[in-house]
Amino acid sequence: MTHLTEEQRHGLADGSLESPAAAAHLRECAACSADVDRIRRLMTRVSHSNPAPVEADDLWPSIRARIEGQKVVPLPARGEGAPARPGLHKWVWGIGGVLAAGLIALWVARPRAGTADSTNVAQVGDSGVSLVAVMDSTHAYEQEAQALLNRLELQRATMRPELARIVERDLRAIDVAIAELQGAIRTDPNNPALRRLLASSYRQKVDLLKRVSNAG
């Protein structure tokens, strides 16, 4: 009697093989039948195995630290000129770096809890820029950024993977900064400096997307 091949035995055991002839052989051959049953028992034990528990709190702080660390974008070295296409990533980093520096400066200079709101009022009057005008420009930049993002989606397929990764990473850095500014504005909605910085952030995002679009 010719026994089943290894492929047939495993195929019958895991259901990947549908062969009436092989199934008929199993009914007649005790050795092959026992072997296929052993494989099935292994697969049953596998299917009943439970994943090992993980200490979620144990890993999250490290993950968060690495994510937060990505928000810091290094400034380009002094003296670097306008890059050609291969150097696109240099000014991409530069934009993110200026944005990060501005955000840090603003965070350091923010009004502390318990201080009077008069400084915010004075800033509105001193700057001469109304909150409404700043909010309007933010909205306009937001819409323009979304339109450019839609165009970027079409470019991704032909973009060099390394460049795509860098662009995505720096867009992420800008978006995180924008999200933090939006959060700060929710707690301090009458702070024009925050709104100017948000508008600036969107402007930088639009500039980045425009350059990527033109380079592609």
Binding site: L42, V54, A56, W60, R64, Q70, E168, V176
Partner: protein, 181 residues
């Protein structure tokens, strides 16, 4: 920054995390960490390395989150990303001189200390998995535990589908021996 609430669905958390909400991403982490750790732990021998891989997976997921378009379930997307992260690490180890995914030899699979009859205690699945060479373990985990097809495994690992099948059979045989099935 907003924290995840119990009522938040995964879709809500994904949407907020894509907007930069780290608190929402933490919710995604807590929902999927156990499954990702189980995958990493089974794919590599060392628990410390598995923990490092879990961190790498979630950092990579944060970086790539904007590319998730919701065309698949988030857990599926995350799982596939995790497999890629682990396989990248395996390939790095291979370049450094460790075993290739197809270089498992009979001695490693069926050698002197691989028979459960030599030991007083039958190995459980996790312990038996840890004794397999990297290549066999990779294919077995991906196929029999994670449900990937041979074609998918071949695509991810760079080995031929026929080779993946042969690796799977050898892994099953080795596990059956170690677990006294």
């Amino acid at each position: 920054m907003a924290q995840a609430n119990e009522e938040d669905t995964i879709d809500d958390l994904v949407r907020r995390a894509q907007g930069g909400d780290v608190g929402a991403f933490e919710g995604l982490y807590r929902a999927h960490a156990a499954a990702i750790f189980a995958l990493c732990r089974r794919m590599v021998r060392d628990e410390t390395e598995a923990r490092e891989l879990v961190q790498d997976v979630f950092v990579r997921a944060w970086e790539r989150l904007t590319s998730f378009r919701g065309q698949s379930v988030f857990g599926t997307w995350l799982h596939r990303l995790a497999v890629n992260v682990v396989l990248e690490r395996v390939r790095v180890v291979r370049r450094d001189g460790a075993r290739h995914v197809t270089d498992d030899d009979d001695e490693a699979l069926f050698g002197a200390h691989s028979d459960a009859g030599d030991m007083d205690i039958r190995m459980d699945l996790e312990a038996a998995l840890a004794t397999l060479p990297q290549g066999s373990r990779t294919v077995f985990v991906l196929h029999d535990m994670e449900g990937y097809s041979h074609d998918e495994i071949a695509h991810m690992t760079g080995i031929a589908p026929g080779t993946a099948r042969a690796q799977l059979w050898r892994a099953r045989r080795a596990l059956m021996k170690r677990m006294a099935v």
